[in-house]
């Protein structure tokens, strides 16, 4: 894709800029759609209708909200640390947006095909932690500080099981490149890593239960990484008002909000990339059977988005069903259950791969 843009514009830098802006065009409408979806999902779970006035079934509501937030006065509390207070939302958004660079949207488009793809995504998500801590600290509000402290402790702890599970996939795939991991799981859905990966044989069947366990661990930790219920203690509304973004208003608040929803998609995309074939269709391509080759990447893009949206939907479903954990329980879940299980899982998968 990068070459195409460079050829079209005749300038390497311009091509690169266009290439890197494509995810932004994708992410912002997607985040707005997720905000709307969240409202609708919660409303229907609670016997309500949700937004109905702005547009058909209220689909324009979030656009109206963002427009409103853009026009709002940008309030910085008198005692806040102005510099950090301003940088924090930008950093949080940059962190979640930068992760899109290494995620393959389809076989034709990936922001940057780096060999360390998955490692990069995990690392760059760490920026979000710094942003959250900045926001909590600079607000000079005790509730914000408590929220930020909780958030940092939580995200750092839950990165360990995430990485361990991803590592077990890397053992099977033999690469950190997300595009290659996705390519590997081609053809039919039984080639996905959740069903033991593309290589046939007895080992594939033996792998399946461990893959399911790994998927559950990864999904649970990804919920914690994006601060969703039951792990939403950093912004626990009934305890800490709004956690680290209590003091934010206007567009700065909107940036936190949008990056939260963008982040939800990032973790869902990773879950689907490593376990559910990424952009691969579960059953062949229409483009291949019709002989129209340009249709295939579009279909792949559709499948990628559909899988992402499905996992985001499950996140919302959980949010409106479950109560939230307490801080100590949250840490107990991570250190007492998820990390040991993911370790054992990794060792078993590695042994099975060794004797393949």
């Amino acid at each position: 894709m990068l070459e195409l843009f460079t050829e079209l514009t005749g300038n390497a830098l311009l091509g690169m800029i266009i290439n890197s802006l494509i995810p932004l065009v994708f992410v912002i409408p997607l985040a707005l759609f997720f905000v709307w979806l969240e409202r609708k999902v919660s409303a229907h779970m609670q016997d309500r209708l949700g937004p109905m006035i702005t547009g058909s079934h209220g689909w324009l509501q979030t656009f109206a909200d963002v427009l409103k937030l853009l026009q709002k006065e940008d309030i910085i509390p008198a005692d806040a640390d102005r510099k950090l207070f301003t940088i924090a939302p930008i950093l949080v958004f940059a962190g979640s947006y930068a992760a899109f660079a290494a995620i393959p949207f389809s076989s034709a488009y990936i922001g940057s095909e780096i060999d360390m793809g998955i490692f990069y995504v995990v690392a760059v998500s760490g920026l979000v932690v710094a942003g959250i801590l900045m926001a909590g600290w600079s607000s000079n509000n005790k509730y914000s500080l408590l929220g930020a402290m909780r958030s940092v402790a939580q995200i750092i702890s839950y990165e360990i099981p995430t990485v361990l599970v991803i590592l077990s996939i890397v053992v099977l795939a033999g690469t950190l490149n997300l595009l290659k991991i996705s390519e590997m799981q081609t053809a039919y859905f039984w080639n996905w890593f959740i069903f033991g990966g593309p290589e046939p044989g007895l080992i594939k069947f033996l792998l399946i239960p461990f893959m399911f366990a790994g998927f559950l661990i990864l999904y649970i930790s990804s919920l914690a990484e994006v601060n969703r219920t039951p792990f939403d203690i950093p912004e626990a509304e009934s305890e800490l008002v709004a956690g680290y973004h209590t003091e934010y208003s206007g567009m700065k608040f909107a940036m936190f909000f949008l990056s939260e929803y963008a982040n939800m998609f990032v973790v869902s995309a990773i879950v689907s990339a490593v376990f559910f074939g990424g952009y691969q269709s579960p059953f062949g391509y229409l483009g291949n059977s019709l002989g129209i080759s340009w249709l295939v990447p579009i279909e792949q893009f559709f499948w990628f988005t559909a899988k992402g949206i499905f996992f985001v939907f499950v996140q919302m479903w959980l949010r409106w069903t479950l109560p939230r954990l307490r801080v100590d329980q949250l840490m107990a879940v991570c250190w007492k259950y998820l990390i040991p299980y993911s370790f054992v899982n990794l060792i078993i998968i590695a042994f099975l791969e060794l004797y393949r």
């Binding site: 919660s42 779970m45 005790k142 626990a236 305890e239 109560p323 307490r326 329980q329």
Partner: protein, 414 residues
């Protein structure tokens, strides 16, 4: 920003070992945090000042009075009938129970009794109100621990009860339904039918509620063993209602000191011995079930007859008669302008409200106004136990504990 001078007393209690510290000072490992009166989970305008060590609560001081409207003083300048609408504003989650409690207390002071049908209707509305109050309690409690969906489910059921209120009292929220010596309007056949239909549906809805919460490991894990109030402490603090019964004391005024016709009713008093947040939740759920049982019996047994006593000097006459007959007009004029003139003396009467024992203590000097009215509000007394429950727990637990005590600030602050 907290006004340091106003909070001096509060801080002295909070930091008992170090009284020179102000809220602006940095403590070594600890932090003083102000929760409320504007906070999403303090059920109105309860204010807590917490001393935290990390996330653990070292000390708690509740401060009440942000919703103080001076009802006890206002009552001294009002006739007994005039005060009824103000009882709606005590525990506003179950207005009818307060109306009933007040009317019964004044009737005891006057030494009169309402007709049997009126008494039965009072029991019906008191039990519906208990369901209504407990629905709010369960819903907001679940919301406090993070299950937001629950509160909308319970409020949906509450709306149906308000439809019944609308039918019988003409208002959905501020009902003011009782009168001294009877009721403002009849609980007609349509209302009976509405109540029966509601109860039939509600049985299944309660099953849904319990399915959502009781089998949820996170919900149980968050609440089990949190905010334990021992039997002795509960009695010493004067805790009443579901909170007392969750601590293992079998005390329900409907049983201990039956009023209305509760002695004819067949119902159980649910008691749990754990005294934690979970037990308080279970007591409320079981009480809703018992209320359904009582309501079913009442709706079958409700007798025919008058809904207001025929005592011209004490009880307001019917509106239609005031406009057509001389004597009723004079009685109405006298009661409205000069009051019902109870005998000199004092009386205390209490009922079992959803929140606990709601009592009215009247001192009368024989005039049309009470010389003194003291409201024994259950939320106020229950809140006394809050520091005892919160200290040593975590900040998330404080929210759960407040939710499990279920205070209504309109009643606590009066």
């Amino acid at each position: 920003m907290i006004d340091v001078h106003n909070d001096e007393k509060l801080l002295k209690v909070l930091l008992k070992d170090d009284p020179d510290i102000t809220i602006e000072d940095a403590l070594d490992n600890e932090m003083v945090i102000n929760m409320g009166p504007q906070h999403p989970a303090t059920h109105g305008v309860l204010r807590l000042v917490l001393r935290l060590d990390g996330e653990t609560v070292v000390n708690t001081v509740p401060e009440l009075g942000y919703l103080h409207r001076g009802y006890e003083k206002m009552a001294e300048a009002m006739s007994f009938n005039e005060f009824i609408p103000h009882t709606d504003r005590l525990d506003y989650t179950s207005t009818m129970s307060n109306n009933v409690a007040y009317a019964l207390a004044v009737e005891k002071l006057l030494g009169i009794e309402a007709p049997k049908r009126a008494q039965y209707i009072r029991m019906i509305i008191a039990e519906i109100s208990r369901i209504m109050g407990h629905l709010v309690a369960i819903g907001t409690f679940a919301m406090d621990v993070g299950a937001v969906t629950m509160v909308l489910w319970t409020f949906r059921e509450r709306e149906k009860i308000q439809n019944i209120y609308d039918r019988v009292a003409g208002a959905r929220f501020t009902t003011s339904y009782t009168r001294i010596g009877g009721l403002a309007s009849d609980f007609d056949d349509v209302a009976v039918k509405m109540t029966k239909e509601f109860l039939d549906e509600f049985d299944h809805t309660m099953d849904d509620f319990e399915k959502l919460l009781n089998t949820n490991k996170i919900f149980i894990g968050r609440l089990e063993g949190i905010g334990v109030l021992t039997k002795e402490d509960a009695i010493a603090f004067g805790v009443t209602g579901p909170n007392l019964r969750a601590s293992g004391v079998q005390y329900d005024i409907r049983r201990a000191n039956p009023y209305l016709y509760y002695s004819d009713m067949d119902f159980d008093v649910p008691v749990f011995t754990e005294g934690d947040c979970l037990a308080r939740y279970f007591v409320r759920v079981d009480e809703v079930r018992e209320s359904i049982k009582i309501l079913r019996q009442l709706l079958d047994k409700i007798p025919q007859g008058e809904i207001i006593a025929n005592l011209p000097k004490k009880v307001l006459p019917h509106k239609a008669e005031i406009y057509s007959r001389m004597e009723e007009l004079i009685h109405d004029f006298m009661i409205v302008n000069f009051g019902v003139n109870p005998p000199v003396g004092d009386t205390y009467f209490s009922v079992e409200n959803p929140k606990g024992e709601l009592g009215f203590y009247f001192v009368s000097n024989g005039s049309g106004h009470p010389w003194k009215l003291k409201i024994r509000s259950p939320s106020f007394c229950n809140l006394q136990a809050l520091p005892k429950m919160c200290n040593g727990q975590m900040i998330s637990d404080v929210i759960a504990i407040i939710g499990s005590i279920d205070p209504v600030m309109g009643e606590a602050d009066k």
